[in-house]
């Protein structure tokens, strides 16, 4: 189960969040926990360097890309390695959408597009598409396999 995907800016303001199966009263805790992780570790990190954390049986993978920090939380089948794969898809799509490593402005300019991409990568806590071309087609309302 992919429990959460959070994207924040470099000072910890959350730009995008998608939760699945996390009770609303726990979301605040997750937010602060993740943002703190980022604040502690991502300051000097290089782009797309993967970081890992865990809490009980939950896995967390996070990274920084330009001005935004991305956090993914998963459990069961979505362990560190699976999350790293998802992270790879998300970062490369954000890069593509912003044409380069995103500044916060760029990210926000492409906000809608990024939301649509995320919507194709996973929904209802299950990872869907990981192929970049396919995701791009789907966000443009084209079928996954084109004829």
């Amino acid at each position: 189960m992919l429990m959460a995907v959070l994207i924040s800016n470099s000072v910890g303001n959350i730009l995008v969040e998608r939760f699945n199966g996390v009770p609303s009263e726990e979301r605040l805790h997750w937010r602060s926990f993740l943002v703190k992780l980022g604040a502690d570790n991502l300051q000097r990190a290089s782009n797309e360097e993967l970081f890992v954390a865990s809490h009980k049986s939950v896995h967390i993978v996070y990274t920084v890309l330009g001005d935004v920090c991305i956090y993914i939380v998963g459990k069961d089948a979505y362990d560190e390695l699976a999350l790293a794969e998802v992270m790879f898809v998300i970062t490369s799509l954000i890069k593509d959408a912003c044409k380069k490593s995103p500044t916060e402005r760029l990210f926000l300019d492409k906000y809608g597009k990024i939301c649509l991409c995320l919507d194709e990568i996973f929904w209802k806590g299950i990872v869907e598409n990981t192929n970049k071309e396919r995701i791009k087609r789907l966000t443009r309302l084209k079928p996954p396999g084109e004829f």
Partner: protein, 1167 residues
């Protein structure tokens, strides 16, 4: 960052706004521009245009609050504040509220055929709207209109996106499952838009209908939209059975048409270059399976399984993944049915084999799980052919290029189960890993070269070790973390194998020997054949050649694991330490592990949660291998000394206790020593007694950890007093030595010598406690004296006497001068009791005095009777018995003793007491006369917890007493939860966190209830008489303090007029305290009561007024904390009216737990 710093999410909403409609909106937009900082809660700002004064007052309050915050931010971040002018200039653009966006959609939907409208939608409206987690139902008609009339693909894609979100909403507070900014409620728009009157209940059926029609549309041109429509439908919550059955219908309908066609054209590398028809089919297959995956599993439905099995042969890799996931879930429930259904697919050359080369990691992971479930299924014991078939696929996946897949296979082989962890399964897992070989099946003839190389059978263990070692050389943290986790699981299985005592565990076996002979043996991977094979193999080979033995390989792996401790990521290190703890063999020295842990713990970077996790790992390890108790205690000791401030003292104590019990008769002494070594540490006060350093350097430099260490020492002292008798197997009531009156004549030195020769464990504990009672800090001295008393009461002689004498001296203050020369010269009078413990000790001494006195009397009496040769009369016996009972009562006040066995008058009294008891038919069981019962302690003590399995020497009663003391409570829960591997709840962030702790805690709730209480009272007052608008003030108070209290990083930096906002934590609306699942998940029973007493005004007061009754005309969803959600037709009681709003009460609380609040007047039909 500097140039983009002004670009927060709010800018996105506010910049380049579509022209905001001017009419009838001025008041609200002026508010929103002044309080831009609160924009993220537009419903608070712009919704209540009808509330006139109420609103403006609230706005003013928000403004004040906002200003204060901005000022504070500016003060805190002077540098950042410099940029304000630049920023405020930028800010002149009109802000866009949700309401404006919504309005734009309505307008643009009407002109969707124009290019400019489409552009506006795609570039401005839709992306900005995406910051909310959903849209309100009132937008649905416009979205549906766009869906039907617009032809722009991007617009349509967004429309599906938003329709899906409306479907996924669970209806209340605009707060969907997904998080994000709560969507303002549709009634926010009621005053600016004529669409009002649309509820979720109205629009959802319309959306579902339209999407259903689209999903069934077979038109080729409509193909892509069909897929999206189906996808959007799956967003509907699975609790909605109507939509669910519709979805099943659509999915199976599609599959009926496209799944049965044989896949002739399936190329090796995907479906590239297929014809149009097959691509469309493949797309539909994908969409249908993707939807099916998100529907609840339907195990009883053969069609479900059938379609999923067909899915394995589909061309679309994602479809294959989904079908494998579905099947592996089904296989976990009914492996037999799945295995039969898979039939041909699983045969060599079948579709299942193709998955091995499928370019989708998660699909291969699911394949591994599927193979594991089937190959280990008991239900398939009679079909070894099927089992070995799947087993072979599983082992082949071990060679998978992806670590994710390979690790999953290793875990499967090791017998790691998700929920029900079974030791035997684990042990077999270890056996399998160390003994079995991977023998690739005969490769198809077309790939000769490859098969030549790989066909040579390989022992699994060798492959696994090689793979893990290379993973540990990776630079990627996730890979390192995962690899360490796998090693940890290996350790668990290995520990289980040791615990079960699996034969042939010999790790000196050369693993190559088996693969060398494997060809001739022609094994079919059947478990039973192995032990023999191995023996054969062992006898053939000339004993292990160093590195190729299991032990050798493990050693080299562990070497690599240990070096990983150097990783800078704390979480990786924690996992490595856990792996090391699990891989620690009971028979090897653990010095290295100890020094690694000690070195690690000196690093201040370790967060408390991780340390406690490691501590819990020790618990788990103890549970798996109880005979390692002493080793584990020694490790736990490092935690106690190095990081006393960070670990959970309860969990540590529980570990002490369980380890002590588990150490067995031989280990008890060492175990107790390991615990009490804490007492030998220098006291936390820096400077004093610094020469007293023990093996471990204590790190209690800061006040917090010094305090924690002191508490820990206190706990240890208590523990020692409570358990020393158990550890020493010394009980007064089991003592073989008669109460040596002669011993009394010995002097103190001889007595100590006698005591330590008789029971060194107890004597050692006694000495430690005596030192604590004398030289520890005030708190520790108190606990030490109490501990000593406990020991005095429970121990036989000479220990009791020894303690008695010590306490006596301590009370008189003489001890100090005896033991310490410090005070000799200072000439000051130390007071009646130099230790300051006189008051505390006196009653203890009194009990012991009474016991000794009574014993003396008894001996005198016995002598008298013996000399006079007369029988004991009933009265004399009664007197004796009463003394016995009285002393028992007294003793029970100090510590627990088994009443049935304990003899305060000494063993000689046993016979006489027994006579009296039998004569008067007194049962030994305790009655109400027991002071423990009277004082309520008995519930603790006698609570019948199932006692752990104990060695014979253990006193059951005492163990029960421990269990009662330590067994329940949070520590035990934490340990059990950890052992069960559960826990997905949110982590707590440390207190020293920069961001203040988000607070939707119980406290907050409580505070909120309190805040609301006066409001309601006020309302009540009002309802009975005047209805002044002033009264709304309290509502605002509650709201503003509510927000004032929230201070966490957040969503959508509110970006108010000052720049500095990006520095500080920004507030967002917390999950409303009245959200529906809130109450469900709230376990504290007080909460219920709290809301009872505060939330609901007293009945009598209500009835004293003149309430009007009515019914709700429509559904209404509360948009703020002061509002109340209604369901159409619900009966309500109208309290009063204010500015177009009724304050109403419901008969029973709604789903959000609220009973009273504001609703729009138009929603109520007054009767």
């Amino acid at each position: 960052m500097a140039d983009s710093s002004g670009t927060t999410l709010m800018d996105l909403i506010t910049a380049d706004a579509p022209p905001p409609p001017a009419a009838s909106y001025s008041s609200s937009s002026s508010v929103s521009s002044t309080v831009a900082g609160q924009q993220y809660q537009p419903q608070q700002v712009s919704t209540k245009t009808t509330l006139g004064e109420k609103k403006s007052k609230r706005a003013a309050l928000l403004q004040i609050q906002n200003d204060t915050i901005s000022a504070a931010k500016a003060a805190l971040n002077p540098v950042r504040a410099n940029i304000i002018p630049y920023n405020s200039q930028k800010r002149k653009k009109k802000p866009v509220s949700y309401a404006q966006l919504a309005r734009s959609i309505h307008e643009l939907a009407a002109t969707s055929d124009q290019k400019s409208s489409q552009k506006q939608l795609v570039h401005h409206v839709f992306p900005k709207l995406a910051v909310y987690n959903s849209v309100d139902p009132s937008l649905a008609p416009s979205l549906l209109m766009l869906n039907q009339q617009c032809e722009d693909r991007t617009v349509l894609r967004y429309v599906y996106y938003y329709l899906a979100r409306i479907l996924s909403d669970n209806g209340s507070q605009g707060l969907s499952q997904g998080g994000g900014i709560p969507t303002p409620n549709w009634d926010a728009l009621a005053d600016i838009d004529a669409v009002g009157g649309v509820t979720r209940a109205d629009v959802v059926p319309r959306i579902v209908n339209q999407l259903t029609t689209e999903a069934m549309n077979t038109d080729v041109e409509f193909h892509a939209r069909r897929l999206q429509a189906l996808k959007a439908l799956t967003y509907a919550p699975s609790s909605n059975t109507e939509i669910l059955s519709k979805l099943y219908e659509i999915v199976f309908d599609i599959l009926n048409k496209v799944a049965d066609v044989p896949q002739k054209k399936k190329g090796l590398f995907g479906a590239k270059g297929g014809d149009k028809e097959s691509i469309i089919r493949s797309n539909l297959q994908y969409a249908a399976l993707s939807a099916l995956r998100r529907l609840p599993l339907d195990p009883g439905n053969p069609a479900f399984l059938h379609r999923a099995v067909q899915g394995i042969s589909f061309a679309d890799p994602v479809a294959v993944r989904h079908s494998l996931e579905i099947i592996s879930e089904l296989a976990a429930r009914d492996p037999y049915a799945v295995a039969v259904a898979l039939g041909k697919v699983a045969a060599p050359g079948g579709a299942l084999q193709d998955v091995l080369h499928l370019h989708d990691v998660l699909a291969r992971v699911s394949l591994a799980k599927l193979c594991h479930s089937i190959s280990r299924a008991r239900a398939l014991d009679e079909r070894p052919d099927i089992k070995s078939q799947f087993n072979s696929v599983l082992y082949q996946l071990l060679l998978d290029p992806s670590e994710r897949v390979c690790f999953e296979v290793i875990l499967c082989i090791l017998g790691r189960y998700d929920k029900t962890e079974r030791t035997e399964e684990r042990a077999t897992g270890w056996y399998r890993l160390t003994r079995e070989i991977l023998k690739l099946p005969e490769a198809p003839s077309n790939s000769k070269d490859k098969s030549q190389k790989t066909r040579r059978p390989q022992p699994l263990i060798k492959l696994v070790m090689r793979r893990l070692e290379s993973s540990f050389r990776s630079f990627s943290r996730p890979v390192l973390h995962a690899a360490a986790r796998v090693v940890q699981e290996m350790g668990k299985s290995r520990a289980a194998a040791f615990a079960v005592g699996l034969q042939d565990i010999d790790e000196g076996v050369n693993v190559n020997s088996f693969s060398d002979t494997a060809d001739s043996v022609d094994s079919d991977m059947n478990d039973d054949s192995h032990p023999e094979d191995i023996r054969k193999a062992t006898s053939m080979s000339n004993v292990g050649r160093g590195k190729d033995t299991i032990a050798g390989m493990l050693a080299s792996l562990m070497e690599v694991v240990r070096t990983t401790v150097a990783c800078e990521c704390i979480y990786v290190r924690a996992m490595v330490i856990k792996a090391l703890i699990w891989m620690q063999s009971p028979y090897e020295s653990f010095d290295e592990l100890k020094s690694i842990i000690a070195a690690e713990l000196s690093d201040p970077a370790w967060p408390a949660t991780l340390l406690n996790d490691v501590l819990l790992t020790l618990h788990a390890r103890f549970k798996a291998t109880p005979h390692m108790a002493v080793t584990l205690l020694e490790i736990a000791r490092i935690f106690a000394t190095k990081v006393p401030g960070k670990i959970d003292a309860d969990v540590l104590q529980l570990l002490w206790k369980t380890c002590l019990v588990g150490a067995g008769p031989d280990g008890k002494h060492t175990a107790l020593e390991a615990v009490t070594i804490v007492l030998d540490l220098p006291p936390p006060q820096p400077g004093s007694m610094s020469g007293f350093t023990s093996v471990d350097m204590v790190s209690a430099s800061d006040p917090k950890s010094a305090l924690a260490l002191q508490r820990l020492v206190q706990a240890a002292v208590w523990f020692l007093g409570e358990n020393a008798n158990y550890a020493a197997s010394e009980y007064a009531w089991e003592s073989a030595t008669p109460p040596g009156t002669a011993l009394m004549m010995l002097d103190a030195d001889k007595m100590v010598a006698a005591a330590s020769s008789r029971n060194p464990t107890l004597a050692g504990a006694l000495t430690r406690l005596q030192r604590c009672a004398f030289s520890g800090s005030w708190e520790i001295r108190i606990v030490a004296v109490q501990a000593l008393t406990t020991m005095a009461i429970r121990s036989g002689e000479p220990f009791r006497l020894q303690i008695y004498e010590f306490l006596h001296t301590l009370a008189q203050g003489g001890m100090q001068s005896q033991l310490s020369e410090m005070h000799l010269s200072n000439g000051e009078d130390q007071g009646a009791s130099g230790t300051g413990l006189g008051v505390l000790i006196t009653p203890m001494i009194k009990v012991l005095d009474e016991m000794y006195g009574a014993q003396d009397d008894l001996i005198k009496e016995i002598r008298n009777h013996d000399n006079a040769k007369k029988e004991w009369t009933d009265d004399e016996l009664k007197k004796l018995y009463e003394t016995h009972e009285r002393l028992l009562d007294l003793v029970s006040l100090f510590c627990y003793v088994p009443r049935a066995k304990y003899l305060p008058l000494g063993p000689i009294s046993a016979k006489l007491i027994d006579i009296y008891r039998t004569r008067h038919n007194i049962s030994v069981s305790t009655g109400l006369s027991d002071p423990a019962v009277a004082t309520g302690i008995s519930e603790l003590i006698y609570e019948s917890k199932p006692a752990p399995v104990q060695p014979d020497t253990l006193d059951d009663d005492l163990v029960n007493a421990w269990a009662a003391n330590l067994g329940d409570g949070p520590a035990m829960n934490r340990v059990n939860e950890f052992l069960a591997g559960a826990g997905t709840d949110a982590p707590d962030v440390d207190e020293e966190n920069i961001i203040s702790r988000p607070s939707v805690s119980y406290d907050d709730m409580w505070a909120k209830t309190l805040l609301e209480a006066p409001e309601l009272e006020e309302d009540d007052v009002r309802s009975s008489g005047s209805s002044s608008p002033e009264s709304t003030g309290s509502v605002e108070t509650s709201i503003s303090s509510h927000f004032g209290g929230m201070n966490y990083p957040s969503l959508f930096s509110s970006k108010p007029s000052t720049y500095s906002s990006s520095q500080t934590s920004i507030r967002e609306e917390p999950p409303p305290y009245s959200s529906p699942d809130r109450y469900n998940s709230f376990e504290n029973p007080l909460a219920g009561r709290g809301s009872q007493s505060f939330g609901f005004p007293d009945d009598e007061r209500v009835s004293s007024g003149n309430p009007q009754f009515g019914t709700a005309l429509y559904d209404f969803t509360a948009g703020g904390d002061d509002e109340l959600s209604l369901t159409a037709g619900e009966e309500i009681e109208v309290e009063y009216e204010v500015d177009g709003w009724f304050y109403v009460k419901k008969k029973r609380p709604g789903r959000d737990g609220k009973m009273a609040g504001l609703v729009p007047v138009l929603y109520v039909n007054q009767s």
